[in-house]
């Protein structure tokens, strides 16, 4: 009797301790997460405010003179100045991103369907080759591209090629995980026995089953291509640069407020795409749970 009582008491103490420490761990985890989120968010918010507000509140007194800037606290003058100065580069970057998305989508549909639906030997090697740009440093890749296709340097197709090499793995991985979650091999075989040719199979089975992956993959390619600096800075000629390079020149040669405004413009174009990306993914996860695991990997940071 005595023994069991102490045993129960002990186990109760132990259980309470366990509960306490698990709650403690949970709180610590959430706290660390919040701190890191703040660390990510703080500079972005501060820069957005700094682009629009007068700068004395940050203790920075000197400011570059800009036409149309007045003494009022809140003005869009600097954003407008940045737009006027760099809008060609913004359009150039948008054009690059657009073509990267379109070409990635076309190539991704064909190649992911071909690889996912068939079972030939050397698939793993081919896949590793396609995914290798993720783990190769971008600067090394762009040097290699220039060495290889240096003749067409100055032509924007070279930059586009760099963007394609860099962004294609993300698109490919998204589409492939979407296809694999639907047992595409069997579907393909069934269609084959029913007499559908390759073209028909691609249009009637492949594209419908990777519809959502296509959307999130395209958005991802857009966001990556829009922010990409390492590859495009080296591949472009100095006169023909994209917007990230323009931001680099703003950071090095212009005042704080102009740089902040350039960053604000960059974020204004980036955020809708990011938001849409998260919306499509959260729809995907809430609809059915079986696909949510594969959807989680869409950012493709799993390594090769």
């Amino acid at each position: 009797m005595n023994y069991t009582q102490t045993y129960h008491q002990e186990s109760r103490v132990k259980k309470r301790f366990q509960l306490f420490s698990s709650i403690f761990m949970k709180i610590t985890g959430v706290l660390v997460t919040l701190i890191l989120a703040l660390f990510i968010l703080l500079p972005i918010v501060v820069i957005c405010i700094a682009a629009l507000w007068k700068h004395e509140i940050f203790g920075i007194a000197s400011e570059q003179w800009i036409e149309g800037a007045n003494k009022s606290d809140f003005s869009f003058a600097y954003v407008i100045y940045v737009w006027n100065t760099y809008h060609e580069m913004i359009f150039f970057s948008l054009k690059l991103a657009f073509f990267a998305v379109v070409l990635c989508a076309i190539l991704g549909i064909v190649s992911s369907f071909a690889i996912a639906s068939s079972t030939f030997k050397g698939r793993a090697w081919l896949e590793a080759l396609i995914l290798s740009p993720i783990s190769i440093p971008g600067i090394a890749m762009s040097v290699a591209l220039i060495q290889c296709f240096g003749i067409i340097r100055g032509n924007w197709t070279l930059v586009l090629m760099g963007h394609l090499v860099y962004t294609f793995p993300f698109m490919y991985r998204t589409l492939k995980s979407e296809l694999e979650s639907r047992d595409i091999v069997t579907l393909n075989r069934v269609a084959q026995t029913l007499g559908a040719n390759l073209w028909k199979r691609l249009i009637l089975i492949g594209i419908p089953s990777m519809r959502r992956g296509l959307l999130s993959g395209s958005l991802m390619v857009f966001t990556i291509s829009w922010g990409e600096f390492n590859v495009s800075y080296l591949l472009n000629t100095p006169l023909n640069q994209g917007f990230p390079a323009a931001m680099y020149s703003a950071f090095t040669f212009s005042s704080f407020r102009v740089s902040c405004s350039a960053t604000l413009l960059f974020l204004v174009i980036l955020f809708p795409a990011l938001l849409l990306l998260h919306l499509t993914n959260s729809i995907g996860t809430s609809n059915d749970d079986s696909r949510s695991l594969s959807k989680r990997n869409i950012f493709g940071v799993q390594g090769v």
């Binding site: 132990k14 301790f17 366990q18 420490s21 698990s22 761990m25 949970k26 985890g29 959430v30 660390v32 997460t33 919040l34 890191l36 660390f39 990510i40 500079p43 972005i44 501060v46 820069i47 700094a50 940050f58 203790g59 783990s135 190769i136 440093p137 971008g138 600067i139 090394a140 890749m141 040097v143 290699a144 591209l145 060495q147 990556i224 829009w226 922010g227 990409e228 600096f229 390492n230 080296l234 990230p244 931001m247 680099y248 950071f251 090095t252 740089s259 902040c260 960053t263 960059f266 980036l270 990011l274 998260h278 959260s282 695991l293 989680r296 990997n297 950012f299 940071v301 799993q302 090769v304």
Partner: protein, 252 residues
């Protein structure tokens, strides 16, 4: 593509001249060591720090989790240059945080650390947090909760379960996240381009040799060195984690 890089490796006098230069010239060697040290430090730090958020995202149901996750993925589409500028704005000589602290305490703490090693570390951390978090999260969410429950029901404490169940299960994922963040920070030169004033890095030297001096052979040699290092790290961590997985499957 790779073949051409290899072709341009040939030196003027002997074959591996450019590689010899990287390792014999003290400034290049220092740059290489700086790159390796910083990348390893950042990879270690970001992997360890991001275990917590990854755990929270994978296992807990907290309000606003979707928004938090979205915030964590923002830096993925920033290039290094932007991260560098953000860090200058926060921690530069007249950055936001020093100014804020001067208002509060009367002395500008952390002024100008953006240009020092700690600032570089912070900037690269900013860069690597999403990568580490997402790769760890997908590993944690695939983990079997039954093993944990079994260890609890056998009377193990939270610490014991963490040390002997969760950590070994997660070790391959930790290694992988280390490899990803290591190779990503090895290759990114945007941050260093903006921030680094005295400390040199191999990717920065590459950029200078390529753009400034048009020394293509040396630049190509550096590029190949970077690629080889990152491939080597990937292979080592992959084989290590594979071996771990194999031994566990024999034991279990």
């Amino acid at each position: 593509m790779g073949v051409l890089v290899l072709q341009s490796i040939r030196g003027e006098h002997f074959v591996l001249e450019n590689y010899a230069l990287i390792f014999s010239d003290s400034s290049f060697r220092q740059a290489l060591f700086n790159s390796l040290g910083l990348s390893a430090g950042v990879a270690l730090l970001s992997t360890l720090l991001c275990l917590m958020p990854a755990w929270v995202f994978a296992k807990f149901q907290i309000p606003g989790k979707a928004i938090l996750r979205a915030i964590f993925t923002i830096p993925l589409s920033f290039s290094g240059v932007i991260v560098g500028f953000l860090m200058i704005f926060l921690f530069g000589r007249i950055g936001f945080i020093p100014q804020l602290l001067e208002q509060l305490t009367g002395y500008n703490h952390f002024s100008g650390i953006a240009y020092q090693f700690s600032g570089l570390l912070l900037a690269y951390l900013y860069f690597e947090i999403p990568r580490a978090t997402l790769s760890l999260e997908s590993a944690i969410s695939k983990m079997d909760a039954q093993l944990e429950n079994a260890s609890y029901s056998l009377g193990a404490s939270v610490l014991q379960t963490f040390l002997w169940i969760r950590l070994p299960l997660l070790f391959p994922a930790i290694l992988q996240s280390f490899a990803i963040t290591f190779s990503a920070s090895l290759g990114s030169f945007g941050v260093a381009l903006i921030l680094s004033k005295r400390i040199s890095f191999l990717s920065l030297e590459l950029f200078e040799q390529y753009i400034g001096f048009l020394n293509l052979g040396l630049a190509a040699a550096m590029a190949v060195t970077l690629v080889l290092i990152s491939i080597l790290v990937n292979i080592i961590t992959l084989s290590w984690s594979n071996r771990l997985g194999y031994s566990r499957s024999i034991n279990g």
